[in-house]
């Protein structure tokens, strides 16, 4: 967790916000299926591909915590390199790529990279967020 509220003015372009580790376990999968129902596409021992944005978003929110309430996601670009296995330890880094104010809104782009415990890249994402303050 950051020591100060991460306002738009405090976002440093190119400066990594750190690493967040998580693991998709049985409890997370059960909660996921309570939202969406059964997995599709023949998942077995791999994390459902539809969890990519939740995994990345969780990491990105944690790495920017605390941040002002009320922010909005405006866009996402994903590359899913490999579906991780259930139980893999996933490490995500987040780095601000750019920020600008347009029409009174604070636009921020952040790049995230997620790797498994073997260092293999599993997800890459560019997240576009309208920062709240």
């Amino acid at each position: 967790m950051l020591s100060e509220l991460l306002t738009y003015d405090r976002i440093q372009i190119g400066e990594s916000l750190g690493v967040f580790e998580t693991r998709v376990d049985a409890d997370a999968l059960a909660l996921w299926r309570s939202i969406y129902g059964d997995d599709v596409g023949g998942n077995t021992d791999t994390v459902p591909p539809d969890m990519i944005s939740a995994i990345v978003m969780t990491a990105q929110l944690e790495l920017t915590n605390p941040h002002p309430d009320g922010g909005l996601h405006a866009g996402q670009h994903y590359v899913l390199h490999h579906r991780p296995r259930i139980g893999d330890v996933l490490s995500t880094t987040s780095t601000p790529l750019s920020k600008e104010i347009r029409k009174g809104r604070r636009w921020v782009k952040m790049k995230t990279e997620t790797r498994d415990q073997d260092g293999r890249m599993v997800y890459e994402t560019i997240v576009t967020i309208i920062w709240a303050a």
Binding site: S34, Y36, A54, M57, D69, G70, A74, G75, Y78
Partner: protein, 123 residues
Amino acid sequence: MPSELQPVSLKITQPRINAYAKITRDPNPIHLDAEFAATTEMRGIIAHGTLSLNLLWRALAGTFGAEACDGAEMDVRFVRPVRVDDVVTAAGHRDEADPSRYLVQVTNQAGEAVITGWARPGT
């Protein structure tokens, strides 16, 4: 490749939003607190954009199998908020200008696009 992705629909209920907030550790009150949300430019609770976006991955996996998501790429914009009790549907059709990918969208029950973009299955 098929000309269209197999569509996937979901009703966006408040319990689903709450569960999604829990799994993503996202306590943003714009998704959870009607009083706060009413004071924002959205003027009420909206669902997490990615709650609907995930349906596009499910459409891709349902059409090609989950293994085809290895190497897949997706680019989307959130163009309209999703409200509690909206029914959203993710779908896509082959991009004539680039047959390796699909033009995708998520629409609400009124047929309005809430997410637009493109997706390319893995090879």
